[in-house]
């Protein structure tokens, strides 16, 4: 069950001609998920800063 399914790195990339589909799907999806975290983190920091500024001024 834990044997590598491919002989070498090229075979991993190529996946018998299906590599383009598989790697395209994973790379774009991972990018979308990471971007969602970055946006969410930035939004959180923004609102936190706004509240801190408000607290400081009051």
């Amino acid at each position: 069950m834990f044997n590598l399914a491919f002989d070498n790195f090229n075979a991993i990339l190529n996946m018998d001609g299906h590599g383009i589909y598989v790697w395209l799907v994973y790379s774009i999806s991972i990018s979308i998920i990471i971007a969602s975290f970055v946006i969410a983190r930035r939004r959180f920091k923004n609102i936190e800063n706004k509240i801190k500024i408000k607290n400081a001024s009051s």
Partner: protein
Amino acid sequence: MLMVGWIWGLLFAPEDAVQGNSYRIIFLHVPANIFAQMIYYFMSVCALMHLVWRVKLAAYLIKSAAPIGAMITFIAIFSGSIWGIPTWGTWWQWDARITSTLILFIMYLGILTLHGAFSNLEKADRLMSILVVVGVVNIPIIKKSVDWWSTLHQQASISVSGSSSIDPSMLYPLFISVIGLGFTLISLGILNSHSYIFTREKNKRWVSEHV
């Protein structure tokens, strides 16, 4: 955990006898579809809580979960489309499963658009909750579409209650990918809801004390 599931599925799971290596998209496509539907179920429970008991937090959670639902539904549709090219010879087909999932994606966008269209946020919360409850009818349709209609999309290979028609060497990494994606989306949901609650309650004393 998500990375463990994906690396196991991408590099160590055996090649599929029929679909070859393109089937490895399953480790992303199936978890994405599961959560595209589960997030909507979660939102509909929150919507009922908001409509029946006027729980404000429930509406905040819907608003925080909807972009995550839209994102993961997009990934589900996109991964399915790309998988369809080598498997079916087409990236799109107006069959019941794919169309109902597209409707789910449009529902998520509609919920966000509707909420953004009102300046009165309490009214926006109520109308958004009503739309969520109305749209929940689509979820069992997505689930059962492959059984009710003759579709290009195959029937379910895995089942929670019955036996799965997928080999354990593929099932285990798939299971880990589902759990891993679940934790990933919960983390994102916590982050989203945290900032949205702060945004809505920023004038309250408890928020000022918390920051």
